[in-house]
């Protein structure tokens, strides 16, 4: 019977050692660095983060810039290397593992036009012809041209216009774009 227990102990000990090393220790080291940062997340940004998570943007877009000299992240204008202080305590984390699309850490500085983002989210190929990004029409309302007077539809190119209709962003689209525009890596880092 002692052999059973030694086997079970060995198995759990191996696990526990790595668990402390890779989950608890990083927490002890990293948490003090983000405790006192002023995050300033508005309601729109927090909601937009949730929509970013809901639509699974993370499966094609990373949000971590590698240091200068490691890959071409800096040369592509994605900003300085990311730091743990950059993430403003919005969980789940959005570091991502794929760059099917470009890194978005700096998208607010690289593309500050909300109108561009609305059109691009409604139909990515209207802005970037070769794009393979999915469209997100459920973040928009298609209404008659004369409905909602005073509100202007998004500015679609000729080929993607719907005759007699205009396309209005919903609150969800506004939140998502607010979140995207808040992503800015031009700021100086802490280190």
């Amino acid at each position: 019977m002692i052999r059973n227990w030694i086997l079970l102990f060995g198995i759990v000990a191996m696990f526990a050692a790595a668990m402390v090393g890779l989950t608890i220790l990083p927490k002890i080291v990293v948490d003090p660095r983000v405790e006192e940062v002023d995050f300033g997340n508005t309601f729109e940004i927090v909601q937009g983060h949730a929509i970013y998570v809901r639509e699974g943007c993370i499966y094609c877009h990373s949000m971590q810039v590698r240091p200068e000299g490691f890959g071409a992240d800096f040369e592509r204008g994605w900003g300085r290397a990311s730091e743990v202080e950059d993430y403003r305590n919005l969980t789940p984390h959005l570091l991502g593992t794929m760059r099917t699309g470009p890194d978005l850490s700096n998208i607010g500085a690289r593309q500050p036009s909300a109108d561009w983002h609305y059109t691009h989210l409604f139909q990515p190929r209207s802005m970037l012809p070769g794009s393979i990004m999915p469209p997100y029409p459920w973040l928009f309302e298609v209404v008659n041209e004369d409905a909602r007077p005073g509100r202007q539809g998004i500015n679609l190119p000729e080929a993607y216009r719907i005759p007699g209709k205009k396309v209005l962003p919903t609150d969800e689209a506004r939140y998502l774009v607010a979140f995207l525009l808040s992503l800015n890596q031009e700021t100086p880092g802490v280190d």
Binding site: I6, G10, A13, A17, G21, L25, V29, V190, D191
Partner: protein, 75 residues
């Protein structure tokens, strides 16, 4: 900031050192227990465990494709 960083790096080194020492010592302890209590005396005995009187070693099982009617060569 630089100071804080250097503190956290050297703390990391100590943690790692202590940790690896702990792992090495417990590894040596377990190994000596295993050696002294005769766990290694007949190391290959375990290899016979999948075989029993009902399905003894020496005879292949699961030979579904063996029969002659499989004429066309497929491998």
């Amino acid at each position: 900031m630089l100071l804080e960083q250097s503190i956290s790096v050297s703390a990391g080194i100590w943690i790692l050192l202590l940790f690896s020492l702990l792992i090495i010592v417990s590894g040596i302890a377990l190994f000596s227990w295993a050696w002294l209590s005769g766990q290694f005396d007949d190391i290959n005995k375990g290899a016979q465990l999948p075989f029993t009187e009902e399905e003894p070693a020496g005879e292949p099982t699961d030979q579904l494709f063996k029969p002659e009617e499989e004429t066309h060569s497929d491998k």
